[in-house]
Each structure stands twice: as structure tokens, then as C-alpha cells.
């Protein structure tokens, strides 16, 4: 047995988009244990609910994360709508689904780029982010924002996408699919990529269940669970099945995300074809009195929004359980026994979003 030593990893590290600190206990080049510490970017957004009216808090909720901002706003709105028993118009539900799936595509493309960057494949990183720009352009054309959209409101959405614009979006996405497939095939087939991912950081199905993994991390370990199956927004009307892989290694997690990009294209096409005409918002009266847990599938996994209202315009409590927080125990598990050189890529395979985690 070699001598044990501790190497600090983060909060500033080239591979980390956001700050998290890990104390890596090493024996020679093998990680024996990883001890995490967070708290570098806590902003107190949950506390802010005491000062902002419940209608205003939508804009705070979507600022929890810069990547899945739309889904944070959506989770909060769904929780309030359930408490107040607001019937959201069908068209608004379909629009929410389309923006949510576009967010999933851009988040997964961002992750693929970061992963390529982490194992040193710079040109692949550049090309995946170039493709992601086209999705951001669609966001800008339909919502006016590239990162923060401000389109989700309690009772529906604030902007509509007319038929001509929707046809344009479908056309743009159809044109992108072939190019995205070609670059995704590089992740799937390239021997140097496989060398860094296959059989690295295996999370067994039993461990995934025991440690409460969520999202692609869980589905790559063979667990077929996707919160979209609950049928929120317009998912009840769409045909899809959770993307599942069996191996539980970093390669399987990459495959899940690549297949989810393709699935999102299909879901957007389905939603555009089935989108009904009609209103995009339901007028709201009164204030929420009661509590609700809303569960959504974000690109990183299941997010839980707990909201408790007291009948006034200021809520008692908002609590967010983010997917990255749920995946940290699984990360610590896969870090045990790995090589020091694989630590960056393993941290990235949970798709960490520390801003969400700390809020």
C-alpha cells in the first residue's frame, strides 16, 4: 500500500465550468476517497421568495440556472398552478414542451462540447458549440433572450410561436440533424474518445438506486425512469420512451445524452404537428394557499420544486432539489478507485451545475 496523500481539486480548475471543491485522497495514482465541499456561489435565491411576490418569483426561479433556465421557471409555475388549480391552455402546454426540449438539446450539446474539451479534443468541442449556437438563435427569435427567456408565467406563456415561425424552426432543426448526427458519431465511434470513456467510472444499477442517482446518470445504469412520463406540459400527448443504457460507464452516459438529443428532435416535431390553436394563457385570480411538489425532467435529471403558499402574495417557502445535488453521492462513488487522470472527465459525466445546486 502506497503512502496516502490529499490533493485539492477545485474550486478553480480548467475543467470546471463552476466552482466545486474536492479533496482527493490518493494512494499512488488511485483515488481512495473524495470529500466534496460546496458553498462558493450560494446566492440565497430561496430566501428571496420572502421579498418577491409569487408572480415575480418566476423571474428569480429561471435565474437559478443559466442552462436549464426555462425548466426552472416551468417547475415553479407548475407548482403554483397546481396549488391554485389553474387550467393551463393546451397551446401553452405544447409551447412549453417545445422550449423545454430545445433547452435539452442545447444543454446536451454544451455537455458534449465540455466533455470533448476535457479529454483534449478541441475541434470537436468547437463544432458542438457551433451547432449549439443555432439552438440559441431559435431561442432569441422566439423568446427574445438567448439564456434567460422570461416567457413562462403562471397560467401559461407570454409569447406565441406562429405557424410560419414554427415551420422555420422545424426546417432549421431538420437541417441540423444530419450535422449533429455526424458529430455525435465521432463520440460514439472514435477510438481515442472511447479510450477515455469506455469502462471508466462504472456505476452499477444497484448503486444508482441506493445513491439516488437521477437523469442520464441513472438511465445509463439501466434504470428506466424519466419524469416526463408523468405527463406534465404536453408530454402526455407525445410518444416517447426513456433512453436507457446498461453499462453504467462514462461511455454509456454519453450515449444516453446523444440519444436524448435525437429524441428531443423527434418530440419537437411531434409537438409542432399536434399543437392546437387557442389561447396561450389563463388569467389568474387570488393567491396560492397550500403546498405542492412539482417534479420535472431537466437535462441533468429530475428537479423537485416544493412550494408552500399561505393565501397572501408572499409565499412561505420555496425549496428546490436540483439534479446535480442528487448526483453528487454517485459521483463520489465512481471516483473511488479511479485514476487521478480520469477525475476531470468523471466529474463532467454527471453534468455538474453548481449554480443550481447552491442557488
Amino acid at each position: 500500500m502506497g503512502k496516502r496523500q490529499i490533493i485539492p481539486f477545485g474550486p478553480q480548475h480548467p475543467v470546471l465550468p463552476e466552482p466545486i471543491h474536492l479533496d482527493l485522497v490518493l494512494e499512488d495514482e488511485k483515488v481512495v476517497e473524495a470529500i466534496p465541499s460546496i458553498g462558493f456561489i450560494h446566492r440565497g435565491l430561496e430566501k428571496l421568495v420572502e421579498k418577491k411576490e409569487f408572480t415575480e418569483y418566476v423571474y428569480v426561479a429561471e435565474r437559478i440556472c443559466g442552462i436549464c433556465s426555462f425548466m426552472h421557471g416551468l417547475g415553479y409555475c407548475q407548482a403554483i398552478e397546481s396549488i391554485m388549480e389553474i387550467q393551463v391552455p393546451a397551446r401553452a402546454k405544447f409551447l412549453r414542451t417545445i422550449w423545454a426540449e430545445l433547452s435539452r438539446i442545447h444543454s446536451h450539446l454544451l455537455w458534449l462540447g465540455l466533455t470533448a474539451d476535457a479529454f483534449g479534443f478541441e475541434s470537436l468541442f468547437m463544432h458542438t458549440w457551433r451547432l449549439r449556437e443555432k439552438i440559441l438563435d431559435i431561442f432569441e427569435a422566439t423568446t427574445g433572450g438567448r439564456v434567460i427567456f422570461s416567457v413562462c408565467k403562471i397560467g401559461g406563456v407570454r409569447k406565441d410561436i406562429d405557424d410560419a415561425a414554427m415551420m422555420n424552426i422545424i426546417g432549421t432543426l431538420a437541417g441540423m440533424q444530419d450535422e449533429i448526427s455526424r458529430f455525435c458519431d465521432v463520440f460514439v465511434e472514435d477510438s481515442s474518445v472511447k479510450h477515455r470513456l469506455v469502462k471508466v467510472g462504472i456505476l452499477t444499477e444497484a448503486d444508482a438506486r441506493e445513491l439516488g442517482a437521477v437523469g442520464p446518470m441513472m438511465r445509463a445504469s439501466g434504470i428506466s425512469q424519466d419524469m416526463r412520463q408523468l405527463g406534465y406540459a404536453a408530454y402526455r400527448e407525445l410518444n416517447f420512451a426513456p433512453i436507457v443504457e446498461k453499462d453504467g460507464d462514462s461511455y454509456a452516459r454519453t450515449l444516453v445524452r446523444i440519444r436524448e438529443i435525437r429524441q428531443s428532435f423527434d418530440l419537437i416535431e411531434q409537438a409542432a404537428a399536434k399543437m392546437p390553436a387557442g389561447a396561450i394563457e389563463e388569467k389568474m385570480k387570488g393567491a396560492p394557499n397550500g403546498e405542492y411538489f412539482a417534479r420535472l425532467e431537466q437535462p441533468r435529471g429530475e428537479v423537485i420544486y416544493y412550494v408552500r403558499g399561505n393565501g397572501s402574495k408572499f409565499l412561505d417557502r420555496v425549496r428546490v432539489r436540483t439534479p446535480t445535488f442528487a448526483n453528487v453521492p454517485s459521483l463520489l462513488k465512481i471516483l473511488q478507485g479511479c485514476d487521478l487522470a480520469d477525475v476531470p472527465i468523471l466529474i463532467l459525466t454527471i453534468d455538474p451545475c453548481i449554480s443550481c445546486t447552491e442557488r
Binding site: Y59, L124, E140, G144, R158, V186, D190
Partner: protein
């Protein structure tokens, strides 16, 4: 075959225009819906103060007796709520972003 995919893309990139803009030499094209900054036609404004009351971030200050309309640019989140509630439709969402700044940027408009 992945090697050929990347090699092919590298060859294409050699003869293709850059995917990036030479910012700020080449200005970017704004989308019609881009939320850049709030503009006001001060001559049409009646200083009712509805925009100020509806502003989630308290960025707008309306002085009715002094006929002055003021916005703190860095406090504004471009949610466009003020534009929606303006009774005279004198507020507009302009496409261009405001210039970068290190301090407070207050724009005042006087009728």
C-alpha cells in the same frame, strides 16, 4: 470512420467563412424579437407611473410633477412587463444591448 468525419470538417472549415464574428468590428445582427433595452418616446409619456409600479426590479423611477422618467440600466432585467402595461404604448423593447459598464448607468428622460 470518425477520423474521416473530423478530417472532412477540417477541410471544409479551411474554405468556409468563420463561424464567429469579428466583434466589435463587425456588428452582430439582432433578431426582431431580441430584448436589448427599454426605449421611451418621452413626448407621448403621461407619467402615470404604471411601468414603475409593475417593474419587478424597481429599475424605473417616474417623477410625475417634475415630468422625468428614469431607468437604471443594470437593474433592468428586460422582462418587458413595463412595455406590456404602458397605457400610451410609449415604451418599446429595443433590440440592441446597452454598452458594457462597470458602474451604475442611469438614463433620464425629461419632457
Amino acid at each position: 470512420m470518425a477520423l474521416f468525419t473530423i478530417a472532412g470538417e477540417v477541410m471544409k472549415s479551411l474554405f468556409r467563412k468563420p463561424a464567429t464574428l469579428m466583434y466589435p468590428t463587425v456588428p452582430r445582427k439582432w433578431q426582431a424579437a431580441t430584448r436589448g433595452h427599454i426605449g421611451i418616446d418621452i413626448n407621448a409619456c403621461i407619467f402615470c407611473g404604471v411601468c414603475s409600479k409593475k417593474c419587478h426590479t424597481h429599475a424605473i423611477v417616474v417623477d410625475r410633477p417634475g415630468k422625468n422618467w428614469q431607468i437604471e440600466r443594470l437593474q433592468c432585467i428586460q422582462c418587458s412587463c413595463c412595455v406590456e402595461v404602458c397605457p400610451k404604448k410609449c415604451l418599446t423593447m429595443e433590440q440592441a444591448y446597452t454598452a458594457p459598464s462597470t458602474g451604475s448607468v442611469k438614463d433620464s428622460f425629461h419632457a
